[in-house]
Amino acid sequence: MKLITAILKPFKLDDVKDALQAAGITGMTVSEASGFGRQKGHTEVYRGAEYTVDLVPKVRLEVLVDDADASNIVDVIVKAAGTGSIGDGKVWTTTVDQVVRVRTGERGPDAI
């Protein structure tokens, strides 16, 4: 099993979510995040004083999938999240040892 983590532009969340549901994904976890990559931050001006804001608001989306589906789902996310401009985010996968569904106690791929 794999955990796919995607860092997205907040306004692309709906597109990615719809694409994942269309690809058969039935659950996900989304959290607010902030950070920067090559895009860096931006500058804001208050009463003439400039502030550099390094950390840009982002959304972190996490999905658990079977090993066989991982590559395809990553492609779905990348396709839906892209705008072609700097700051589109990143997607990565990590291997997961165990998954348990709390309600039934099912383990492994059955719990996904």
Partner: protein, 431 residues
Amino acid sequence: MELSSGDTAWVLMSSAMVLLMTPGLAFCYGGMVRTKSVLNMMMMSMITIGIVSILWVIYGFELAFGYKADSPWYGNFSLSGLSSHVDDLTNNGGVYPIPMLVFAAFQLMFAIITPALISGAIADRTKFISWAIFVAIWSTVVYFPVAHWVFAFGNKVGDTVTGTGFLAGKGLEDFAGGTAVHVNAGAAGLALAIVLGKRVGWRKESMRPHSLPLVMLGAGLLWFGWFGFNAGSALGANGLAGLAFMNTQVATAGALVGWLLVEKIRNGHATSLGAASGAVAGLVAITPACAFVAPWAAVAIGFFAGILCSLAVSLKYKFGFDDSLDVVGVHLVGGIWGSLAIGFFGSSAVNSLGVDGILYGGGFDLLVKQSYGVALVAAYSFIVTLIIGYAIEKTIGFRVKRDVEVEGIDLKEHAESAYEYTSSSRGGSAL
């Protein structure tokens, strides 16, 4: 003289509007600080409403507007309790057909907002009890006497006038408080910013406003309330109030546009904080002038105030004092400009109580009087505030401890936090 119900209704309404300016100021200031100190910032205004109202009843109104001492410097030392009869009419250089208590209520609201304005200079770092004590002392030795100098036109019986304030008697034109309120609060703000020193991390870490919508809300409330402040100062529902009302509107509009123009040219963006700040700068500048100039002049005064104040707010970085929310740049500079502007734009054609300024062929006479008033109020306020400030600093301390400031003054001074960010932060149980 018979009581006028129209005049009385307008001044009662104006009093309520001027009171609303102080919570409005609390929103304006509260939005400009960081999330960890918004409640403390707003509480500095709220406690001022509490303290000054009480002092006003006990002795404040007598000290500012009493006439029995017949002194140009203060009204009267007396524990009055404001126990006049409901039918007593206002006498301030002449009889007005409104009850004395209505005049006292209206002037109270000015006495409240003036010290509240100062709090912006010392955001995020002021010990709450010390602020409360400061407000009581400052009102007593600075605001109440200065209000007497500027606003007390004396008790007129027949042709005899007793107890006229010093600057009122010298011919200073300050319709609604350019000197007594704004120069006064601005100079005091500068003094306290010096006494308390810079915030931890000033110019190193980001201190950007945490909620601009709150600032906009506050600016809107201030703008609305300011019609009571300026037009209410006519003490009647009449043409003078109409002139003050119109000038208040157009000067504020001019300043808003002026400030945004500077930003657009200098930084490339017109900001919402700039719009709010420009509006306040215009309101400040037109305050002394609102009933002495024609509306076209009000636009000019406002427009130039917007430009001047937007440039003045950067001075603190050059001089290295942390006037956190620009009380000096907006209120001191705007108040000085508005007061002096009457020397140029003053016109006896729009108001026969006024005097012609330079542009109307009146010569430099009025400008000299205005400069004198500004200088006296600014110097008195700055020096006395420095003394009060250092006295508090050396005894009970004026500033919170460093860890309180870093961790957040809301939590440490008030045991509250303004915002609930996530459902998990709701945790804990009642004791």
